[in-house]
Structure formats: C-alpha cells, structure tokens
Subunit: 190 residues, 2 copies
Amino acid sequence: MGTKGDGNRQRIVDAADNLFYRRGYNQTSFQDISEATGIPRGNFYYYFKTKDEILDAVLNTRVEQLTGILNRCENQTQNGRERLLLFSNMLEKNRDDVIESGCPIGTLNSELAKGDPALHEKSRQVFVLLRDWIKRQFVALGLSNADDLAMDLLAKLQGITVMACVFKDVDYVKRSHQQIKDWINETGLT
Amino acid sequence: MGTKGDGNRQRIVDAADNLFYRRGYNQTSFQDISEATGIPRGNFYYYFKTKDEILDAVLNTRVEQLTGILNRCENQTQNGRERLLLFSNMLEKNRDDVIESGCPIGTLNSELAKGDPALHEKSRQVFVLLRDWIKRQFVALGLSNADDLAMDLLAKLQGITVMACVFKDVDYVKRSHQQIKDWINETGLT
DNA sequence: GTCTATATGTAGATAGAC
DNA sequence: GTCTATCTACATATAGAC
C-alpha cells in the first residue's frame, strides 16, 4: 500500500527472480540480491520477513507473467491448436537461456522438491496453471483425453529443456521444437 | 590402496550419494553425511580433500552402477530393441523415488548447471554414457538417425521424471512408461 | 523508509592429540 | 586411522540510529 518503497520492492523481486533462475534459490544469498540491486541487505526485511517470502513474491510474479503470455496467445486466435503453436513459439525464444540454465519453473521445482514441502507446493502452482490452460485448448479441439495430452505436452517440453541444458546443443533444440509443432498439428486428427 | 579405511570411505560415498539425490548437493552438509554414517565430520578429510571430491567419488559410483545396469541389459539379449525395453523396465522400478525426488542424474545435472562449470561437466558424463549406449542399440537396429533417437528417448524419460516429481501422480507415470515402450517397439519399423 | 552494525547459526575446512 | 576442538567465512535475520 506504500507509495515510495514499492519501486524498491519490485527491484528486489525482479533481481531475485533472475538470480533464482540462474544460480538456484538456495545458492542465491541476500548479498547477491543486494549487489544486483544496490539495495543494502538489511533493507530487505522492510519488505519481506524471510527469504521464503521473497520466493513467494517471485513465484507470484512468474504466475502473472505466464498469465500474460497465455492471454496474449488466447487473444490472437480462437483455435486451440493455433494457440498451442503460438505458446510453443514463445517458449522457443528462450532457447539460449534454457541451454544455459534450464527451464525456470522446471529447475526451480526440482530444487524445491528436495526441501521444504510448502515451498515445493508454491512452485507447483505455476505448473498447475499451465497444465489447465493447455488442457482447455485440447478440450476446445474436442479431444476427450485433453488432460493426458496436456501432461504429455508439458513432459515433452520439460524433456527438451533438460537435454538442452545437459548437452548445450542448439541444433537439438531446434529439431525438437519442430517435433513439438508437428505433434501439436497431428494430435487428435483422425 | 589401504585396507582398513576403505570401508569407511565407501560408507561416506554411499551416504553422500543418497543425500545428494534426496536433498541436493548444495543442501547436503558434512554434518548430514556424518549423522547418516556415524563418522565424525573431521574424519572426512582423511579420505577427501574437499566436498567436490566427495561429489566426484559419488559420480564415479553412479557411472559404475549405470554401467552394471547396461551390461545386464546387454547380457540378456542381443536384440537392440529388447535391450532398450529391458532398460526402460529397470527405470520403472524407481517409480516411487522418482516421484519423490526426480531423476538422480537429471536433477543433479540441473543443480550443478547453475554453479561451477567443472562440477557440471562431471555430472554430464553420466548422460554421455547413457546416450552412447542407447545410440548403439539403435545402430544395431540399422537406424541411421540413431543419435537423434537416443536424444529423443532420453528427453522422453527426463520429461516423465520431471512431471512425475511435480504432480506426484503414479497413474501418469505408469501410462507414460507404457508410451515409452510402445515408442521403442514402433520406432524404425517401416 | 533507509542504512549500518551486529547477533546467531552453520557451512567447509584445518590442527593436532591419541 | 580416528576423533575433538577450532578456524574462517558467510548465511539469514535483528536492532536501532538516522
């Protein structure tokens, strides 16, 4: 509700978002975020009581960003298949980051799965959002196994990002994204 | 080369292997390993100079274990397709652990990708071993795009493990492993 | 609201007695 | 070879001046 500090609060969240992705949550210290923003460590506690609360804010931001992406896909076409292709194309733009650091939500989820279950649950919500949106597109195509297909598409995307990060192979990523698009175009056709 | 301490050394490696999988490398402390083994912290430095050396020993153990698994698959049949199915069946047995903590080599790779490149490179070698073995089975089937198919199979497996760990859904894992087996059986048939 | 100084805990790593 | 005591660095978190 404040007016002045909100800018600083968002700068902390944005820097944390980036660092949690590139170095991981546990390996990102307050000092790292402080150096990235120029805001002193002690000041963080004016906006957040704990590091967990920063993570919570980061995940909220990611949900908002993903919602924006999905809304843009929805606004461009009414056809479920075309929406899925648009979404796939948007992911493809992050190719270089994926090769370097993996999928932002996938790797964060893997990391948090090994620690506090409450944190893991929060990170899972980003996947829930995405799964439901993909499912709705398949439902719009009249497919009865829409939820299974949503899981399959997510698994394909996650599999590619893991392998991309392991082997750092641009050509592999290009080829695999084409396979994804082919699969979207074929799926559910008689 | 010693005679007495080798048992303790292996106990440290085995406990670290398990903890690195369930909690992650960075989140596993010497105290954790100490409590798991009953061996005092300070004693570790008789066997390993740094924590990185423990990781190195763990990765060597994993390479050996994986080599053993692959050899067993090779000894049971000469047919590449059947070997791949045997391997897939072996992975399926780890279903509960995968749901809880993900793929041992996949999640470790994701974690190490965000830190020291030298550590990441070591963990990548486990994937290289696996990729080459799968490739050889496709080559034995006379398929010219064997390496691409090996990457595709690895991506499928990794995608399933990520989603399994995110959503903790046993039925999803069962269904997906059946898809893998179907794919292995179809691939390369005219 | 902002910043410095500091409290408290724990990490990896070392020294040296036995 | 084994173990205890300890060093140094850095983590999250707090207190309080401005």
